[in-house]
Symmetry: C2
Subunit: 352 residues, 2 copies
């Protein structure tokens, strides 16, 4: 990697994130802890609601470790949610079957009611969960923390949940970019605090989920994805220069390259639609890449899955590469398919 020295470390994931090319690329899966696992569903039934699970350190830690025990991924990712940040800022949040629901912010809302100084206190349980996970992990498995990127968190805060066309949040950004910029700024500060407390508690890498990056126009992508991400990465690097940042701008499409060049993230997460050849030719020359098996292939399994996994590893494994999905594990995924994937991941790449 240009300008980087590959640091040696015991953990395969961290070696790859630092730019090393390993004979056996490490792997983990977005949403690897969750509803597709019977042991998760059992605990969830007992615990009651999702937010309680996230904010009860013993439960969050247990759920984080469940997939590692079964499948031995190279990384655990802290069981948490990107919407804990708006909740900690003071916005009401609940989860129903069809997704999250927030009391929506609007252009006339008083942003001073959102207080980023509450993050460290409110989200301390996430740090405690990280502490507990670290105790349960063997020496070769890394712990990843995460947060939503400011744009994506803002979409939920303004739309009040998921959205099809993002008319409220984009409309605000178009009509009043200064005030919308203040919300993004505030979210940047809150995210910095949230990631900092995770890092202090022991996470060894962080991922920024910008799940709705693809909803923006090119100018919006520059203003609300690239610029705030760059500012956040700079601030993180000042505090924690050694902790790698994985950026995942889902749906960035034609702007993936620009995101890689301008944000300063150490690693790029690829969504399902990114061609492996593009990633290998245009992104891996800058940074390690992570991704991007279609979650529907893990759901349906069989020959199609095996072929696609082998192809991804053959193409991207020539450079620094973390195997992952292009989006989260689907709740209906049979655990046996993940077990089969784990067996494939245990094999080194064929030489040549």
């Amino acid at each position: 990697m240009a300008g980087k020295t590959a640091r040696s470390s015991a953990k395969p994931l961290l070696r790859t994130l630092a730019g090393e090319v390993l004979a056996r690329p490490p792997w983990w899966l977005m949403r690897q802890a969750g509803r597709y696992l019977p042991e998760y569903r059992e605990l969830r039934t007992k615990a009651g609601d999702f937010i309680t699970m996230c904010l009860t350190p013993s439960l969050a830690a247990e759920v984080t470790l469940q997939p590692i025990r079964r499948f031995g991924m190279d990384a655990a990712i802290l069981f948490s949610d990107i919407l804990l940040v708006p909740r900690a800022l003071g916005q009401r949040l609940s989860f129903a079957n069809d997704g999250p629901a927030l009391e929506p912010l609007s252009e006339t809302s008083d942003l001073r009611r959102l207080n980023s100084e509450r993050i460290a206190g409110q989200l301390a349980p996430v740090g405690e969960a990280a502490n507990r996970v670290k105790e349960g992990l063997t020496a070769d498995i890394a712990l990843i923390g995460f947060a939503g990127a400011p744009w994506t968190v803002a979409t939920y805060m303004v739309e009040g949940g998921t959205s099809r066309d993002f008319r409220r949040v984009k409309g605000w950004a178009y009509r009043d970019p200064v005030r919308f910029g203040a919300l993004i700024e505030l979210l940047g500060a809150a995210t910095l605090e949230f990631l900092s407390l995770q890092i202090v508690a022991g996470v060894e890498a962080v991922q920024l989920f910008d799940s709705w990056a693809g909803a923006l126009s090119p100018q919006g992508f520059k203003d609300w994805v690239i610029a705030p991400t760059r500012r956040l990465v700079v601030a993180l690097k000042q505090r924690f220069p050694q902790v790698p940042v994985i950026g995942f701008p889902r749906g960035a499409g034609l702007l993936y390259e620009r995101y890689a060049a301008e944000t300063g993230v150490d690693v790029i997460g690829l969504d399902t639609a990114v061609p492996a050849k593009f990633a290998s030719d245009r992104l891996q020359c800058r940074v390690p890449v992570q991704g991007n098996l279609d979650p529907v292939l893990l759901l349906s399994g069989g020959d199609a899955m095996r072929r696609a996994v082998a192809e991804l590893r053959a193409t991207l494994g020539r450079g620094p590469y973390v195997f992952n999905l292009g989006h989260g594990v689907l709740p209906e995924t049979p655990p046996e398919h993940v077990a089969e994937l784990a067996r494939m991941m245990a094999e080194p790449l064929p030489i040549g």
Copy 2:
């Protein structure tokens, strides 16, 4: 345009689609006929349901002409729906507030029950509507017909409506590509018939909406977007060599260029996320382009809209260019914003 002779024609839209660069680029809007217009809502209330409006020639023609009377776009687009094809094939279809609902097809459904020979008879009213529209259009305004591309229509048929993750349709395609390929083939044949009857009735260009092209992995995009589109374009060109085909692979991202190079479409529709500079550098050297103002900008209006419109015209207007949105008009759009857009569209580009 390489290999193309710009044909002269009275209608600005057709001149542009043939590759001419005009001082005043022509324009129309996806979903320019529809719920944002009070005269549409009034007619819709009288007519009852949406399918009746599509299949009653006098109503469909009237609704098609409404935006032209108000705003004088350079093209009318036939008021119709991409799901009329599965309905004509024999699948049950209804429209509720949250979108279309179809009785979903599955991997064990008998595809022989879907009969593409019924298209011409069942969808004859769409041809009649086209006839009527032609009578109401002045000599300089073109009439566009359209259909869904096979992949996108298949997603609705298999998911039973809109979908977030397309797990049913992609799962089928992964598990049994031969039989899924037969469905795509059948949809190709049906779409050919649907577009043919529109062309025979007088539409002068056709657009293929591949609204869910962006949901596929790169291999899926090759198999289910590029290949069926190419076959359909070849078949259309054999019947109607003079009728331009606009391909709109929404969300194609990094595969836009490949789509332009391999499908044989005459014109590329750009979604909201495509950077104008990319379109100008990499697509317009092959084909005219159409797009791609964010519909949320038309909804919110004002300075932000005016600036974005001027920028798009300045960048893309140097080549053959049809101004449009990057997705359909949102139902809440104030008609006054469209009127302001129309005034901007009446001006030629500044020279230089």
